[in-house]
């Protein structure tokens, strides 16, 4: 129960920070950090998958409604929520406890980096593909995927550094 309330709190924090702060960042006109992916990355392997899907869908939907592009974030974040357990399972070290929250401390830096990078770039590729549906420039798409992904990764690794 306590952990669920904590999760709802983090959900709201990530949501508000994302729409009021991070969505306004457009480094070099291409890079936007998508920190809400970090929220999805923090679910342990034992967490019910339907639950994880619902968390990701509603996070995406709320962000979509606030940014006036309904469907884009919801669709891509739901896909990420769906494959997160598979990616985590693949990168988790042998001595990783299934109840553990994925982090540098529980996974070692190398494994966590691979895990984070895979999740983030999957999200960026899907997100910008959906977003580009009516106007597609390949160069533009590639720049956005690479730089937004890299910026998100930097943000998340920085946050990991400050975590206890």
């Amino acid at each position: 129960m306590e952990i669920t309330i904590k999760r709802i709190g983090w959900f709201l924090v990530f949501f508000i920070v994302q729409i009021l702060l991070l969505n306004k960042i457009h480094l070099f006109h291409v890079a936007t950090p998508f920190l809400m992916v970090y929220f999805i990355m923090q679910f342990p392997l034992t967490y019910p998958r339907t639950g994880l899907l619902l968390w990701s869908f509603f996070m995406g939907l709320l962000i979509d409604i606030s940014t006036n592009i309904p469907g884009v974030t919801a669709a891509s974040l739901t896909i990420v929520g769906f494959i997160q357990p598979y990616i985590l399972n693949y990168f988790a070290p042998n001595d990783f406890y299934e109840m553990d929250t994925p982090s540098v401390r529980t996974m070692t830096f190398q494994k966590f980096f691979n895990y984070a990078a895979t999740v983030i770039f999957t999200f960026c590729i899907i997100f910008f593909s959906f977003e580009a549906f009516n106007l597609f420039h390949f160069g533009d798409w590639l720049l956005r995927v690479v730089f937004s992904g890299a910026l998100t990764l930097i943000f998340i690794l920085a946050l990991e550094r400050f975590k206890r």
Binding site: F57, D64, S66, T67, V72, A74, E131, L135
Partner: protein
Amino acid sequence: MKNLLAFIQRFSHWILFLLLEVVSLSLLFSYNGYQGSVWFSSANNINGVMYECSSFFSNFFSQSTINNELTQRIIALRDENQLLREKLGDDAVKKHLASRESQPPAYSYIPAKVISNTITEKNNIMTLDKGYDDGIREDMGVVDANGVAGIVYLVSDNYCTVLSVLNSHTRISCMIRDRGSFGTLHWDAKQYDTANLEDIPRHTQFKLGDKVVTSGYSTIFPRGIPVGKIIGASNSSDGLSYKLKVLLTTDFSHLRDVRVIKSNASHERKILEEISTDSLIASPDSDN
């Protein structure tokens, strides 16, 4: 039956996943044509209040620069006013003002504040802090002190969203000032300070630096509101007309105080225009 239940239980996350994806994708593909979706936009009350709070704080910090800009503008306008008065003579100005007061204005303005705005998406939308209760309706024009800003899209009771000029769905009828030829302003989703003026006939004469203003052919914008100036010209893809590159006068990265234009055009004109559009849609050989 038992097997079926077991199957559903085992694959429940697959089923939920597909369901959520279908919902998201149908939102994604049906949104543009779905006018009733005001609750799925930033014009709903919760988002409105949230954005209003955040823009209050950001405005608080940018207040002094904006005040400076406004002061500069007032000084420039006062100088211009003085010059024009000297040229015309006071009597002529008074006479003109008196004649304007005697007839009702064709347009009135509703002041509003931009509480959320983007410039980097392909379809940029902004949110204003005025809605249906303040007299705002769909398809009204929005301008700021420098020029055209956008067209009202969805309206809720207290907020509305606006299709910015920087939106690939926005088209505004414009003309080149003092030369009269007109075309359609359309954004190409590249830079936030330039847009294209399309369908300018090939016999048109113009210079780089000529001013582009609204044409007033629709009742959305009155004639002569500044849009930008021409900074480049090329042929359209079919070679039948010119495509002009226009530097927009409105600074979309610092948009804050805007006015929504309420057209007081005669009811007759609106009905006439509606009937002609409807009959064009109804007639079978009109799709080109």
